[in-house]
C-alpha cells in the first residue's frame, strides 16, 4: 500500500463517488412500479416532468433515496469519528448514549403524543431535543473536565443508554397496539415514514459535522497512538475532543431523529473502509460519508423489494447484509483491525 497523497485520496473518493451514484440509481429504480433506468434519468433530466413516472420518482423515491444517503453518511462519519476519538474500534455512533436520548425523545411522542395532540411530525423534533439534552449531559462531564478518560465517557454512555432503554420499555408497555408497532419500527430503524422537509436539516448537520471534523483528520491519526503522544506532536487534544463530541453527536441526533436507530452502518462501514483503504482519517472520514450513504441506499432498496408488496425495516437489512459482507472482507484481507 502506498503513502496517502492528495491524488490517491481523490482517486479513492472518485471510485466511492461512482459507487454512490450507482447506489442512488439502484435506489431510484427499486420499487413495485417497474420504472427503468432510462425513464428515471429522463424524469431527472426534465425539470418540468409530469405524470405518474415523475410523481413516483420526484415525490416518492428521490426524497427517500436522498434522505437515506444523508442518514447513512451521518451514521458512518460519526462512527469513524467516535472510534477515533475513543480510540476504540468497537465504538459505534450509539455508544455515548446520544441515540438513547434521541430514542427516548422520539418514543415519548410516539407513545404519549396523541394524548396531547402531537402527531408523527413531532417525532423528529422531540428526538432531536432528546439528543441535545444528552449532548449537554456528556459535555457537562467531558467538556468541563476535558481530561476525563475515554473509559469514563464510555461508561457514561453505557449508563445513559441503559436508562433510556428502561424508560423506552416502560413507555412501550404502556402504549397501545398501533403505537407499539410504531415504536418497534422506530427502534429497528426505518426510512418508510420519512418526511421530506427534514432532508435539508440532516444535510445541514452532515455538512457542518464534516466541515468541523475533517480539518481534525490528521490530528485524529496522531491520537491513534494515545492522547498524550498526540499532544506531544502539537495536537490540542481538549479542543479535538470537544469538536468531535459535539459534531458527531449532532450528526447522530439528526440521523436517529428522522430514521430511528438504524444499526450496523456506523460500526461496519468505517471498519470495512479501513480494511480496504487503510486507517488514515484524511481519507477515511470522507470515504465513510460516501460508503455509508451508498450502503444505506442499497439496503433500503433491498428492504423495499425483497418481499413482494411488503417493506422490511431497513435496520434489519443493514445487519443481515452488512455482517456477512464484513466477515468476507476480513477473511480476504487477512488484516488485523483490532489492537
Amino acid at each position: 500500500m502506498k503513502i496517502l497523497t492528495p491524488m490517491r485520496a481523490l482517486w479513492s473518493l472518485s471510485v466511492l463517488g461512482a459507487v454512490l451514484l450507482g447506489a442512488l440509481i439502484l435506489g431510484l429504480t427499486a420499487g413495485p412500479s417497474g420504472l427503468g433506468v432510462g425513464e428515471i434519468l429522463s424524469v431527472l433530466a426534465d425539470r418540468d416532468a409530469t405524470g405518474p413516472a415523475a410523481d413516483i420518482v420526484l415525490r416518492v423515491r428521490l426524497p427517500r433515496v436522498l434522505l437515506g444517503a444523508l442518514v447513512g453518511a451521518c451514521l458512518a462519519v460519526s462512527g469513524v469519528l467516535f472510534q477515533a476519538m475513543l480510540r476504540n474500534p468497537l465504538a459505534d455512533p450509539y455508544v455515548l448514549g446520544v441515540s438513547g436520548g434521541a430514542a427516548l425523545g422520539g418514543i415519548l411522542v410516539l407513545s404519549l403524543g396523541s394524548a396531547v395532540g402531537l402527531g408523527y411530525e413531532a417525532v423528529p423534533p422531540a428526538a432531536f431535543a432528546g439528543c441535545l439534552i444528552t449532548i449537554a449531559l456528556l459535555y457537562a462531564i467531558a467538556g468541563a473536565n476535558a481530561r476525563v478518560s475515554t473509559t469514563s465517557l464510555l461508561l457514561t454512555g453505557v449508563v445513559f443508554n441503559a436508562f433510556a432503554s428502561a424508560a423506552i420499555v416502560f413507555l412501550a408497555s404502556m402504549a397501545g397496539l398501533t403505537e407499539g408497532a410504531s415504536i418497534f419500527l422506530w427502534l429497528i430503524g426505518s426510512l418508510s415514514s420519512i418526511r421530506t422537509e427534514v432532508t435539508g436539516w440532516v444535510a445541514m448537520f452532515l455538512v457542518l459535522g464534516l466541515g468541523a471534523t475533517f480539518p481534525l483528520a490528521r490530528s485524529l491519526n496522531l491520537s491513534a497512538l494515545g492522547g498524550e503522544s498526540a499532544e506531544q506532536l502539537g495536537v490540542d487534544i481538549d479542543r479535538q475532543r470537544r469538536v468531535v463530541l459535539i459534531a458527531s453527536s449532532l450528526m447522530v441526533g439528526a440521523a436517529v431523529s428522522v430514521a430511528g436507530m438504524i444499526g450496523f452502518v456506523g460500526l461496519i462501514i468505517p471498519h470495512l473502509l479501513r480494511l480496504i483503504l487503510g486507517p488514515d482519517h484524511r481519507l477515511l472520514i470522507p470515504a465513510s460519508a460516501f460508503g455509508g450513504a451508498a450502503f444505506l441506499v442499497i439496503c433500503d432498496a433491498i428492504a423495499r423489494t425483497i418481499l413482494d408488496g411488503r417493506e422490511l425495516p431497513v435496520g434489519a437489512i443493514t445487519a443481515l447484509a452488512g455482517g456477512p459482507l464484513f466477515l468476507w472482507l476480513l477473511r480476504r484481507y487477512h488484516q488485523r483491525v483490532f489492537s
Binding site: I3, L4, L225, Q232, G278, P279, S339
Partner: protein, 265 residues
C-alpha cells in the same frame, strides 16, 4: 534564567496531596546528552511529561533556550521538543512508515499531506534506526522492541532541537541498546540535546555527558557520570550497596552487591 537547551528551575508537582517533584532544578546544555536515573517512582517520567507540557508544574518553570515553554504554541513546542515514550497504546493498524511520518506533523499545514522530502526524510531515519525492512508492516504486528524503534524513528523525523527519551532501550537487545544510544549521541553532536531516562547505568554513563540522579522528587546529584555514580550516591538514590569500578575506556561500571554477598563480607 539560563539559555540552556532545556532548563528546569525549582519545578514542583503534586498529585493531590502526593508530591512527585519537590523542586527539581536541572539544565540540559546545547549539544549535550544528559542521562536521568533513579529508582521507580522517583519522578523521572513525570519530569519528562512536565517538559512536554502534558503536565503543568504546581511551582517552578521549564524553559527552552531561555523561553518559558508556556510561551510556545503546542505546535511550536513540538518543533522544539520530541518525546519517545516507553510504549504507547495503538488503536488502529497504521503502517510503520505512516507512524514515522506522523513525526512531520508539527511542520505541516492543517490537512497536511506529507511532501516527497518528508517521505525521503522518514525513509532515511528508518534506515538509520534499522527498521526500513518493516516499513509496510502494521505497527500492531510488531514486538515491543520493534515498536520502540519505530517511536524513536518518529521522534527523529520530528527534527526537534531537544529529544526526551523515556527508557528508550527497555525492550531492546544489547546490540540495539548500543545502536540507539549511538543515535542519541549523533543527534547531540550537531548542537542538539537529549535527556534520556534509563535504568541501564553502565550504558547511560557511557553515552551521556552528564548524569542526574533523581531521588524522592529532587535532583540528588548531577555532573560527569564518573563523579555522580559513587557508592554513597547509589545508596542514597537506590538504597543499595554497590561497587563502582572503571571500565577500560574510563567510564564507571556499577556492580550492585546482593544482600547475601554483603553478609559474607
Amino acid at each position: 534564567m539560563t539559555d540552556a537547551a532545556l532548563c528546569f528551575e525549582d519545578v514542583a508537582l503534586k498529585f493531590g496531596e502526593h508530591e512527585i517533584l519537590k523542586g527539581v532544578s536541572l539544565e540540559v546544555p546545547e549539544g549535550a546528552v544528559v542521562a536521568l536515573a533513579g529508582r521507580n517512582g522517583a519522578g523521572k517520567t513525570t519530569l519528562l511529561r512536565v517538559a512536554s507540557r502534558v503536565l503543568r508544574p504546581s511551582a517552578g518553570r521549564v524553559s527552552i533556550r531561555g523561553t518559558p515553554i508556556d510561551e510556545f504554541s503546542r505546535r511550536d513546542l513540538a518543533k522544539e521538543l520530541a518525546v519517545v515514550p516507553q510504549d504507547t497504546p495503538v488503536s488502529f493498524p497504521f503502517r510503520v512508515i505512516e507512524v514515522v511520518l506522523m513525526g512531520r506533523s508539527p511542520h505541516l499545514g492543517v490537512l497536511g499531506f506529507e511532501s516527497r522530502a518528508d517521505v525521503a526524510l522518514a525513509r532515511d531515519v528508518m534506515a538509520r534506526v534499522g527498521i526500513e525492512e518493516f516499513a509496510d508492516r502494521s505497527i500492531l504486528d510488531l514486538s515491543g522492541g520493534e515498536r520502540q524503534l519505530v517511536l524513536i524513528a518518529r521522534a527523529l523525523t520530528q527534527e526537534p532541537r531537544v529529544l526526551l527519551l523515556d527508557e528508550p532501550t527497555a525492550h531492546l537487545d544489547l546490540a540495539h541498546r548500543v545502536a540507539v544510544l549511538d543515535l542519541v549521541r549523533d543527534f547531540a553532536r550537531d548542537g542538539r540535546s537529549a535527556l534520556v531516562i534509563s535504568h541501564d547505568l553502565a550504558l547511560s554513563a557511557r553515552a551521556s555527558d552528564r548524569l542526574a540522579l533523581l531521588a524522592e522528587g529532587r535532583v540528588l546529584d548531577c555532573g560527569r557520570p564518573a563523579d555522580v555514580l559513587t557508592p554513597v550516591n547509589l545508596m542514597a538514590a537506590f538504597g543499595i550497596r554497590a561497587d563502582v569500578i572503571q571500565a577500560p575506556d574510563g567510564s564507571p561500571l556499577v556492580i550492585p552487591r546482593s544482600a547475601a554477598s554483603d553478609a559474607m563480607s
